[in-house]
């Protein structure tokens, strides 16, 4: 039961992007197409899973005062190892996800979950938390990616869907579009939340 709850919370209640407003750097930077959104989401989930497992395993031997620098060392070492292993044994996957790996290092969701969750919970709960948060992050990126690619380029995953007569609003795939769309979505989710609170 508890594991299911830890998994589910990342999707909506504690969604890293829309509810906790974490990981804004990759969210704004690589949500301009559906393909990028999925790539970044999958790569981040992968790293989050690994780092949560490692952190929850070593949580008892980490002195409290220096836990943050130790987490940073563990995470960056882990990201680099994943990058090298992917490049060596799954070159096709590395070609698709490789450009996102350096961006994951600056993703504060990874450190955030290590500090807020994995360092205080069991390994099974940490795995569930990582998968839930990863899925929530991927879904949030996907919502931005679909909107921005559709309006900014008239396509979905590179496939033209809006037809010849649609003039793409280029601003949506450029950086300002990221702020616009993210702001509107954040507003929408806050509005839904407020409505739910009022009715209950």
């Amino acid at each position: 039961m508890a594991i299911g709850k830890e998994f589910a919370k990342g999707i909506y209640v504690e969604n890293p992007v829309y509810r906790m407003v974490l990981g804004m750097c990759p969210t704004l930077a690589v949500s301009n197409t559906v393909e990028n959104a999925v790539g970044m989401g999958v790569a981040a989930t992968f790293v989050l899973l690994g780092s949560n497992i490692v952190i929850s395993l070593i949580k008892n031997i980490v002195p409290k005062k220096i836990r943050i620098p130790m987490f940073v060392v563990v995470i960056s070492a882990f990201v680099t190892i994943i990058d090298l292993v992917m490049a060596a044994y799954t070159p096709a996957l590395h070609k698709a996800l490789g450009i996102f790996v350096p961006l994951i290092v600056v993703n504060c969701i990874i450190l955030g979950r290590a500090e807020a969750f994995a360092s205080k919970n069991t390994i099974m709960d940490s795995i569930a938390d990582a998968l839930g948060m990863g899925l929530g992050f991927t879904l949030a990126l996907l919502s931005l990616g679909i909107t921005r690619e559709l309006l900014g380029n008239g396509t979905f995953w590179g496939y033209p869907v809006l037809g010849q007569h649609f003039t793409p609003l280029l601003i949506f795939i450029l950086p300002p579009g990221a702020f616009l769309v993210l702001g509107l979505y954040l507003g929408l989710f806050n509005w839904i939340d407020n409505k739910r609170k009022l009715s209950s």
Partner: protein
């Protein structure tokens, strides 16, 4: 006082373990990655070679033993020179774009192949984009058949269609090819002039 020494020691120990793990992984993966790179380079070389797949590609070395450029011959045992292949480096928006360029003996571009780039995904990274339904990246194929004086992006008055929203990346690729072609011209002492005299 004891704490003062204990904490840095633990942190140092952690970084040592991390460094050892990284060294180990790097050691194991390096030859495999190099092998992949070699295979990718060979494929890319064949891709842009004006001699085609049957031709022979021979590296011309710099004094320090590194490859300067490649000479392409029509058949594997023939000495008939048909063109050159060289690498162009252009500083883009967020990375150095490395491009392999094949030209014929007149200096006309035969084909280009971008080997590595870390430009912004969705914008500058479109230099390697393959559009839906296509088999080849549209930005790179437009270089084929271009002469040196055509090698500037449309915004600068040239013939290369730049990527919308990514002029810096488009310019980086185009200008680096122009520059590298200029260098090659000096190295080989000028291209063959194929222009027929006007009668």
């Amino acid at each position: 006082m004891n704490q003062l020494w204990k904490l840095p020691f633990i942190l140092m120990f952690t970084t040592l373990i991390a460094a050892a793990a990284l060294a180990l992984v790097n050691n194991k993966t390096k030859p495999v990655i190099e092998q992949h790179k070699k295979e990718a380079l060979l494929l890319a070389l064949n891709n842009v070679s004006p001699a085609g797949e049957k031709g022979k590609i021979e590296p011309v070395l710099k004094p320090d033993g590194k490859v300067d450029y490649y000479k392409c011959y029509a058949e594997s045992d023939s000495t008939k020179l048909v063109g050159y292949i060289f690498t162009a480096f252009g500083v883009g928006y967020s990375s150095t774009v490395e491009t392999l360029v094949g030209v014929d003996t007149a200096g006309t571009v035969f084909g280009i192949n971008i080997l590595s780039q870390l430009e912004t995904p969705g914008l500058g990274a479109k230099v390697t984009e393959i559009k839906y339904g296509d088999t080849k990246p549209w930005f790179q194929t437009q270089f084929s058949g271009k002469k040196m004086n055509q090698l500037t992006v449309d915004k600068d008055g040239g013939t290369i269609e730049s990527i919308t929203g990514a002029t810096i990346s488009s310019r980086a690729v185009t200008n680096s090819i122009y520059k590298a072609l200029e260098d090659l011209e000096k190295k080989i002492g000028g291209f063959q002039n194929k222009v027929k005299p006007v009668i």
